[in-house]
């Protein structure tokens, strides 16, 4: 036994070793929990225009993240408006945001359910959901909400 251990019993030494192991485990757990993704929501109201506008965009995620969906409320849309919803995704660093699905057109009053959902998938390089009012009597307000984990 080393001199520095003189006077320490084998049981005390074992207990100390166990405590050190627990501390290491605790730190390992903390490292994992600190990096846990957080399910987060945000949203707002977009006033439509003849231009294609971002409803939700994350142009450069900090790492792999998991967008879940974008909900858009069409309650305010009337018979005189037509809107187009597009979903874009970037799949390599430095690449362009490219269409990830067929654009969906909503012409006139949208039947129930008024809230329509764009489902998104995990992503690392960027995602956007846009709204364009292609035929307009009035540029309406559209409430929207998105949820994602990161």
């Amino acid at each position: 036994m080393d001199v520095e251990y003189a006077g320490i019993t084998a049981a005390e030494l074992a207990a100390g070793t166990a405590i050190l192991a627990l501390e290491a485990t605790s730190q390992d757990i903390k490292t994992v929990t600190d990096a846990l993704p957080v399910l987060t929501e945000t949203g707002g109201t977009l006033t439509a225009s003849a231009a294609e506008q971002n409803v939700y965009v994350n142009n450069a995620p900090a790492g792999v993240y998991e967008p879940i969906c974008v909900d858009i409320d069409f309650t305010n849309q009337t018979a005189t408006e037509t809107t187009i919803i597009r979903e874009y995704k970037r799949i390599r660093t430095g690449g362009a945001l490219i269409l990830n699905d067929v654009p969906v057109t909503y012409a006139g009053v949208v039947a129930d359910p008024k809230v329509r959902t764009v489902t998104l998938l995990p992503n690392r390089f960027g995602v956007a959901v846009t709204l364009e009012c292609s035929v307009s009597g009035t540029f309406r307000d559209y409430d929207w909400s998105t949820s994602y984990k990161e």
């Binding site: 600190d34 990096a35 846990l36 957080v38 399910l39 945000t42 994350n58 142009n59 900090a62 790492g63």
Partner: protein, 238 residues
């Protein structure tokens, strides 16, 4: 496995949270429940740092963020506790550099402001309350400040206002404070926009440098909560 935003204890009663996730254009989303509309004015630059985290760079000359008065009545603190925080990487520029403020000293002394000052080789952070109806030692304002806020390094700055006290936390650790006589007197109701990175007049006291995730709570966060936030988020900056 994941955590729910609203289940994280330090997110209790959070009123404004701007993680700057968009990376493009001139709006950014508030992920706190009020969903305050935020406009970026003058084109602050979306800039990822080496970890990949997106931040906003303000040029110290014309750029800021604003939330209209009508949209921020819940942030018009006139009594009670509240907290502010932001990650900052500030640079030499204006003598005073506003972080987050909702105040007025022209029409009437009202509201609150949280700002950095570089003066005489000292680097201060100050929380100031304006209260025209309550004159303290001849002044319509009271404040608390701390020293040692270095430029050119990422720092988590935070303050918990509890009654007469406004305790600053640097990287999760409480720092020494100096108060004006009487401590922090309640601010009076203010009708100005909430601004990030400039004075309420939007023409001076520009913040220069990077900013990430300015936040506001309607309660005083504890020292333990500031430490937890710092410990979780520091990985992006080291």
């Amino acid at each position: 496995m994941y955590a729910f935003y609203d289940s994280l204890s330090f997110n209790s009663d959070i009123l404004l949270d701007l993680p700057f996730r968009e990376g493009v254009e001139s709006t950014t989303q508030d992920v706190a429940k009020p969903h305050h509309p935020v406009t970026l004015v003058g084109g602050p630059t979306w800039t990822p740092i080496i970890s990949g985290l997106g931040t906003l760079v303000f040029d110290g000359a014309t750029q800021y963020a604003q939330l209209l008065n009508a949209d921020t009545l819940d942030l018009d603190f006139t009594a009670g506790d509240y907290s502010l925080s932001s990650w900052i990487y500030w640079e030499h520029g204006s003598t005073s550099q506003q972080l987050i403020s909702r105040y007025d000293v022209d029409v009437a002394f009202s509201g609150w402001e949280w700002y950095l000052t570089e003066y005489g080789g000292q680097f201060h952070l100050t929380l100031r309350h304006h209260h025209a109806g309550t004159i303290v030692s001849g002044h319509p304002r009271t404040g608390g400040n701390s020293l040692g806020w270095a430029q050119g390094v990422w720092t988590h700055a935070a303050v918990s206002r509890i009654g007469a006290v406004a305790q600053h936390f640097r990287n999760g650790v409480a720092v020494d404070m100096t108060y004006s006589p009487g401590g922090m007197v309640d601010p009076e109701s203010c009708a100005e926009d909430l601004v990030i990175g400039t004075r309420f007049t939007k023409n001076t006291d520009w913040f220069k440098g990077n900013m990430w995730r300015p936040r506001v709570w309607g309660r005083a966060l504890s020292a333990e909560e500031w430490k937890i936030i710092y410990d979780i988020e520091k990985r992006w900056f080291t």
